[in-house]
Amino acid sequence: MDHKSSIAKDPEYFVTKPTAFTQFMRTFIPWQLLRFIVFNLKMIRMIGLSHAKKLD
């Protein structure tokens, strides 16, 4: 009973947490090299959209 009530008070209990696999992938070099490239490409695409726009 005490155990349950302590869980209910703990907000961390209700929060999404990464699995061990997700944590591993966060520092797995080959995957991170790929993510590095992907993020940079996405960022460049977004920067392209954000340039000053000529007013009508």
Binding site: R26, R35, S50, A52
Partner: protein
Amino acid sequence: MAKVVVLGAGVSGHTASSFLRKWLGKSHSVTVVSPKPVYNWIPSNIWVGVGKISPEKVVFPLQPVYERKNIEFIQARAHTIHPEGDESSSTPFIVAGRTDGSNDSVRVPYDYLVNATGPKLDFGRTPGLGPGHNSVSVCEPGHAVEAAASLKESISKMRAGERQKFVVGTGHGLCTCEGAAWEYVVNLEFELRRSGVRDKAEILFLTNEYEVGDFGMGGMHLKRGGYVIHSKTFTESVFAERGIKWQTRSHVKAVEPGVVHFEDLSGAHGEVPFDFAMLLPPFKGAGFTVFDKSGAEITEKLIAPNGFMKVDANYEQKPFEKWLASDWPTTYQSTAYANVFAAGIAFAPPHGISRPMVSPNGTPIAPAPPRTGMPSASIGKTVARNIVGMIGGEPGPRYGASMSKMGAACVASAGASLWNGSAAAMTVFPIVPDFDTYPDYGRDLGYTFGEIGLSGHWIKQLLHHMFLYKAKLRPGWSLIPE
């Protein structure tokens, strides 16, 4: 010959003056008036604040850079603007007090003025807040050095077996820059782990956000794992994973030695004990006084009550439900004087981005809108482009850079290590949600995304070196995007 004066040499002012110099012919002059002799790459102050890097790595002297590029530099703090000149001359001018050791005042005439003075750190709004009082900050390199020294002291105590309580977050109900506080708390946690004392530390993230992950822009929605999730999920997960507690909807009303006093959105008052507190201050504008030709004060014409400069935004007071993306300024030109612009944090935002909240006691508790980093630089460049056009004969600004039409990338460090560090890499488009164009979430989910991992840290490192290279105006600097 036109004389352009830029007040401030931060991200926005330095970008504006650099592009003005690049695009204007030699017959025109560019003058920068700034109270500090150095440029500071502020995003990396976080690493100084945890003792990871020295302050010299985030600053460099401006004078040699400006000398090389033929930009005049006056180390002074501007305090009055005379947009109509005075009785002796109709040339507009500003008056600044030198900060180079002499106490002289200097009168600087201009044809075009760019106010890029950034924020004034308003520690005084919360009694006991800030360096020299009862908490530390990372807003300036000097502050970050003090924070690192204080952290080192706490780590020594923990090594000796003592437990320590850390509080990191916002030092007032109307603060902005929650992203910087987030970065600091996860970096601090990382350093404690690395120092082998994590088990001796209790860490609390104390914020004015309604939910963590709001970051002053109502948070953002991301597509992850087959769902559209709010940044709250992402942020809480990072905290829970690291054992960081969080407390939202809180206005810090005073900081006494070892105790933070707060009021929350329910109107309740409480206290949080601490051994180490890094709490960011609220911002206000530089606070100029403005005079007309006869010497009568006309500050209200140019400056909003919060000290920021009024520009081409819609400042009509209206409820949250009526806020529009189009309320946000496009050209950053003053509506009172066509030759005056405000860039970066210096412009007065028309309203917040996050929903405004007030406690039953009447205390407003809601993040102010962020304008730092990428939008500041983009605005500075656009203002420079428009001034160059006007000097060349254009009747007015031809380019716009509304925050409701531009995106931003944010890479928030979560641990500085080349092989096991991480950072949250995020982009958002547009910064100010536009519910007319994107009815569901106010943003384009194709361009709004985020993830955490080691590659984020590599990007953060890359940006640190790339933007310092660019700010030093080294060969090819203008090819590096804002």
